[in-house]
């Protein structure tokens, strides 16, 4: 995972990786990783939980634009279950981009 992300980044394509085991990600860090303490096989959460899946993607893309050094591992701070997920804020999604005002 870390190796694949590094190879893609090395040809000039910025990458964002999800991570579910921080200890593994720390050994071969990709350029940017969003850490979720979710079980194996559940990087985007629970089956059928669309709001949860879109929340994970929103946080991942925010990190793509906000990370400022290689090897950044940000804790998403999301709980696996018993977390309330709001429906997606599409306006916030459409604002995601490089620069200080891209992501809020």
């Amino acid at each position: 995972m870390g190796l694949a992300a590094r190879a893609v980044e090395a040809v000039g394509i910025p990458t964002i990786s999800l991570s579910i085991v921080r200890e593994i990600t720390e050994k071969i860090p990709p350029p940017r990783a969003l850490y979720l303490r979710f079980p194996f096989g559940h990087a985007l959460g629970e089956p059928g939980n669309r709001d949860q899946q879109l929340t994970v993607l929103y946080l991942a893309f925010r990190l793509l634009f906000e990370a400022d050094r290689p090897g950044t591992i940000r804790n998403a701070g999301l709980r696996w279950r018993r977390e309330t997920y709001l429906p997606p804020d599409w306006e916030a999604f459409r604002r995601l981009g490089p620069g200080a005002h891209g992501a809020q």
Binding site: M1, G2, L3, A4, A5, R6, A7, V8, E9, A10, V11, G12, I13, P14, T15, I16, S17, L18, S19, I20, V21, R22, E23, I24, T25, E26, K27, I28, P29, P30, P31, P39, F40, G41, H42, A43, L44, G45, E46, P47, G48, R50, Q53, L54, L57, A60, F61, L64, F65, R69, P70, G71, P88, W90, F93, R94, L96, G97, P98, G102
Partner: protein, 170 residues
């Protein structure tokens, strides 16, 4: 089912139920101290083309499955057209419990959610080809992944002129 396969399946379930097992395993891995490449994102997401890469062992039913008999894993990759119906995709990977992912492939291969982003104007486009690998690569295959597989995928993404890549583990 062979005994080795049964053992792998039980281990996979244990790792899924007890994340601390995976954390302990991770602490035992060798650290890679090589320089981490970096390129700054330049395009807003709404104008960008994104490629999806999963290490969850996803492949088309018509493609050869990942080799589960090699204890060091299978370092090859599969090209996955993103418009493939979920029923034509399959997961070959005995090292994690993928019953939930089979029910909702978005957990490790979120094409439906990414397509929604495109429809809502949040993402410019999804690259027509996604890439499937299996995690759990070890031993001599790590060299193959580093020197052959990963650079081959990177070249294909560069040729396709994608702007960003999202990598999802299992």
């Amino acid at each position: 089912m062979s005994l080795a396969r049964l053992k792998n399946r039980l281990l996979a379930r244990a790792f899924t139920v007890f994340p601390s097992l995976a954390e302990r395993w991770g602490r035992g891995l060798a650290a890679d101290r090589g320089a981490i490449p970096w390129d700054s994102p330049r395009k807003p997401l709404r104008e960008a083309t994104l490629a999806l890469v999963t290490t969850g062992g996803v492949h088309l039913k018509t493609q050869p499955p990942f080799d589960m008999t090699d204890p060091n894993g299978d370092p090859s990759f599969r090209e996955l057209p993103v418009d493939t119906p979920q029923a034509s995709l399959v997961i070959t990977h005995v090292y994690y419990d993928h019953r939930d992912a089979e029910e909702d492939l978005n957990l490790i291969f979120p094409v439906e959610r990414l397509r929604e982003l495109v429809e809502r104007g949040a993402l410019g486009a999804l690259n027509p080809l996604a890439f499937g690998l299996m995690g759990h690569i070890d031993g001599p295959h790590l060299g193959t992944l580093r020197k052959e597989t990963a650079p081959a995928i990177a070249r294909k993404l560069a040729d396709a002129k994608v702007d960003y890549a999202l990598l999802v583990p299992a």
